[in-house]
């Protein structure tokens, strides 16, 4: 297959030769490896890559992925990282309008009619910057002779992949993991992996989040070997009976083999202190359904995030251990009962924040230390919930939320703000995805990627369809996908409040943003259909968070008021060298000559961009502490 640059222009082409999304489990070669979480089956490709930058597709180094291409003038660029922060391409912050505002007149493909495909919009865009990345690698011995795939945890915004000169695949969706099978093109010794990253494609219309607009390989990249027997996918359903006493565990396995499916699979469930409470052995099969019950089950919740350990072991016909897959399991039940969301039989109170991934040095390429810091801030300030605004976060964050009892509203990567709201007014004349069939598969794919990757995390209570994208058939289809795929969780979407026609088909909860307390009270007083959640409230721009009691008071007055997520967790600003004094200073939107911009609107956090707390945090600590 040949890579086509026209894919950038086509909303119906968003994944080519990508492996199907699956759970975020990790395979290990031995039990000891699993215990240490150091898999010899994984080879990191993070670090310095060769890199060339082009201002537009016309000036990109065509054919750079060929082994004999002359790359002598290539620079070095750190992966993960943003191209713009390395000095290529202008940094820009903009909120709702599209980043090309005032520079290009654009309407999304097919939004003005089925005969309007808008060919060439991005493939010939003179401002669509391109990053050409090259990485040489030699397989570690543990990966040699195995099936090997490559995982990209985040590439913004569209990427083409080659190995040793062969085209491998294409991906969009900046914030979901993209995985490709490299096996057919691997060679002994040196291998040449090449990635061409375009800043914009039709995905740009779906990724209009209120954030700095970046491009590049901004999350980790790794090679992953699949042993002779391999767990391709793992689905864990850990519920509890109506008495909240007996755990109900269902494990669905999808296995693959290098040659033939033969051998045994052992599944065990261990308590947190290592006591085995269940173990079972079966012959391997492409699909296996295992289940058990756990008496006197220790439930998972915020203050007691108890996790069992599921361990899957695959053995070949000789009894040799081939792959170990561990996964932490939290038993809990989230449900709507009498129009109130309950966790383990108790009314759920959300003391939440919206959290963009942010680091004042690294942008959205956040580190493990950033995440650990954030988790400590949550712990210290009675924050019990997080909305992954407005895209999936790094995988490690979900595990941290499992381990720390943080309830997650897991949002997929979708925001089309600029297609339906202009100058503050609802104006959906060219909204995408809307009800356009040409855009539906792309957004469904985003929903599926989010679901498949994070479906096993007990912390995830809600699937969120995206942010501020209006409502139509396509978002209704996303809601249906989540419900069909996962009857154990609830869906969330705020945008349906802008188009009530879809009220019955979208979102299990009534979600609003920035409604004043009195308006929320009006809703609650009138026998509403759905419980109420503020998906964004208490806009903490600058010196703010006044009057929080007016929201918190609703908790005790109205059982159907279930709290909310403060906007937001951390300011988006960068450490930059002051051009006058040479001192490090924090800069925000508009400070990079970026126009059109929304300037200081990038700073709405409870924390300053350098992670020091704003004074208002003590108020949040106080009020969230009242219902913790």
């Amino acid at each position: 297959m040949k890579a086509e640059i026209s894919w950038l222009d086509d909303p119906q082409t968003f994944r080519v030769n990508q492996l199907p999304a699956h759970s975020d489990h990790r395979g290990y070669a031995t039990v000891a490896e699993a215990q240490n979480q150091q898999s010899s089956l994984v080879q990191s490709l993070d670090g310095a890559w060769e890199f060339a930058f082009a201002q537009d597709p016309q000036h990109r180094p065509v054919g750079f992925y060929q082994p004999d291409f002359d790359r002598a003038d290539f620079d070095r660029l750190a992966v993960p990282g943003h191209i713009e922060l390395a000095g290529y391409g202008q940094i820009q912050y903009i909120n709702t309008a599209y980043p090309w505002e005032g520079k290009h007149y654009r309407r999304p493909a097919y939004s003005m009619g089925a005969d309007r495909p808008e060919k060439g919009m991005f493939s010939t865009d003179p401002q669509n910057t391109v990053g050409a990345y090259v990485k040489h690698f030699t397989l570690n011995s543990e990966l040699q002779g195995q099936r090997v795939s490559v995982e990209f945890d985040g590439v913004e915004q569209a990427m083409y992949l080659w190995l040793n000169g062969h085209f491998v695949g294409y991906a969009e969706d900046s914030f979901s993991r993209s995985e490709f099978d490299l096996t057919p093109y691997l060679q002994d010794g040196d291998n040449l992996l090449a990635v061409e990253v375009f800043k914009h494609s039709t995905a740009a219309f779906l990724e209009d989040q209120d954030m700095f607009r970046f491009s590049g390989i901004f999350r980790s990249v790794r090679l992953v070997a699949k042993p002779a027997l391999h767990v391709e996918d793992l689905t864990i359903r850990a519920g509890v009976d109506d008495a909240f006493k007996t755990g109900d565990l269902k494990v669905k396995l999808q296995l693959s083999a290098a040659d033939q499916l033969a051998g045994t699979v052992t599944a065990s469930l261990l308590t947190a202190d290592g006591t085995t409470v269940w173990t079972t052995e079966s012959p391997v099969a492409a699909n296996l359904d295992l289940k058990t019950t756990v008496d006197a089950v220790h439930l998972w919740q915020h203050h007691d995030p108890y996790l069992y350990q599921l361990q899957i072991e695959l053995r070949d016909p000789l009894g040799q251990l081939v792959e170990v897959v561990p996964y932490q399991v939290g038993f809990r039940r989230i449900e709507l009962k009498n129009k109130i969301m309950q966790l383990n039989g108790h009314r759920l109170i959300i003391n939440g924040v919206n959290r963009h991934e942010w680091d004042a040095h690294r942008g959205r390429a956040v580190t493990a230390a950033d995440m650990a810091h954030d988790m400590q801030v949550f712990h210290d300030n009675h924050i019990n919930a997080v909305r992954t605004c407005h895209y999936p976060d790094q995988d490690a964050w979900y595990h941290l939320c499992d381990q720390n009892g943080i309830y997650m509203m897991a949002e997929n990567n979708l925001e089309t703000h600029g297609t339906w709201q202009k100058m503050g007014a609802v104006e959906p004349s060219y909204n995408v995805p809307g009800s356009l069939p040409q855009w539906q598969l792309a957004v469904l794919d985003r929903a599926k990627s989010n679901y498949e990757m994070f479906k096993n995390h007990p912390a995830v209570l809600f699937w969120s369809l995206g942010n501020e994208s209006y409502a139509g058939d396509d978002i209704a289809a996303m809601d249906k996908f989540y419900h069909d795929a996962d009857p154990t969780r609830l869906t969330h979407y705020e945008g349906v409040c802008r188009n009530r026609v879809y009220a019955d088909r979208i979102s299990d909860m009534e979600s609003m943003m920035y409604d004043p307390p009195r308006a929320i009270e009006e809703y609650l007083k009138n026998d509403p259909d759905k419980p109420f959640v503020n998906c964004e409230y208490m806009h903490d721009m600058g010196n703010s968070i006044g009057g929080m009691n007016s929201y918190i008071d609703l908790i005790d007055k109205y059982p159907m008021y279930q709290g909310g997520f403060i906007w937001d967790y951390i300011d988006q600003a960068f450490w930059t060298k002051d051009e006058v004094t040479g001192q490090p200073v924090l800069r925000y939107g508009g400070d990079f000559d970026d126009r059109h911009s929304d300037y200081e609107f990038s700073g709405d956090g409870l924390l300053f961009a350098d992670r020091t707390p704003k004074p208002a945090l003590q108020e949040v600590d106080y009020y969230y502490g009242q219902h913790d």
Binding site: M538, S544, G546, L586, R587, D604, F608, T612
Partner: protein, 319 residues
Amino acid sequence: MANTTKLNVIYGDVTLGLSGPGFHYIFAYDRGGLESLVRYGKEWLYRTPMPAFWRATTDNDRGNGFSTKSAAWLGADMFSTCTSVDVAVDGQAIPLPIAPENNKYSDHETADSVTITFTYTTPTVPATTVTVAYTVDGSGQMTVTAHYNGAASLPELPVFGLRFVMPTRATGFDYQGLSGETYPDRQAGGKPGTYHVAGLPVTPYMVPQECGMHMQNDWVKVTRATTQNNADPDHQPFSLTFAQADQPFAFSCLPYTPEELENATHMEELPLARRTVLTIYGATRGVGGIDSWGADVEPQYHVAGDADHEVKFVIAGVE
């Protein structure tokens, strides 16, 4: 506090001097306010204290247009002028004691207490007045009452209080009140206690704005170690305490005026910090928080322009 010491009164031609052991105050008729507050040889004033009406625009203020609606108070904060001065000795009003009225006095006049009241007229339309009355006793204790006279059709105020600009930058301050930065609508999380704040921190909001407010204080003690007096080689710390008179007050203690903060779009644009700006507030608007593009601060946290506002506090005398 019982006080038997007499206050020395110096009936100058352009000022009224009041002194006793360890203190000397000068009220200037020509400068329209308290010009000098010296305790133990240390000057505490850079310019006369003036009524405070403005706060540096918060992001929420900008979003809901409050700064536009209340812009007259920025002018009032910068350009109000003293339009009359009244003096009372031992509770009795006297004619303004300038020549020739003061020719009858000597160089050894005393009193139990003296009250001097400055009236400031705002450049707002309509204009209104603020009176600032200082009552000093023989211990040097100064009771200060600043009173805003509400007037119909004046816009809501950002704040009302009295602003002291001190000649050098404080090393820090101590106060008894609530922890952290608090506002009328954001003080539930503030824990009562006695706190020390080192330096004069400016909360580093991305766009410098109103910050550093402390609600519900019994007292605040500002400590400095430097003066502008060329003949004062001593760099030992020295302090001045402002205490509540009949109810707790709010204050902020920053190295900048609201106008300096207002003018900066980034922290690095603020001037070098070289003074101490202590403002004691009788009223301050809440910060709000519903959104930053239109939602108003909740009604109970507004400061009405047509109602009176007052702040009363005591500057400690010498012991």
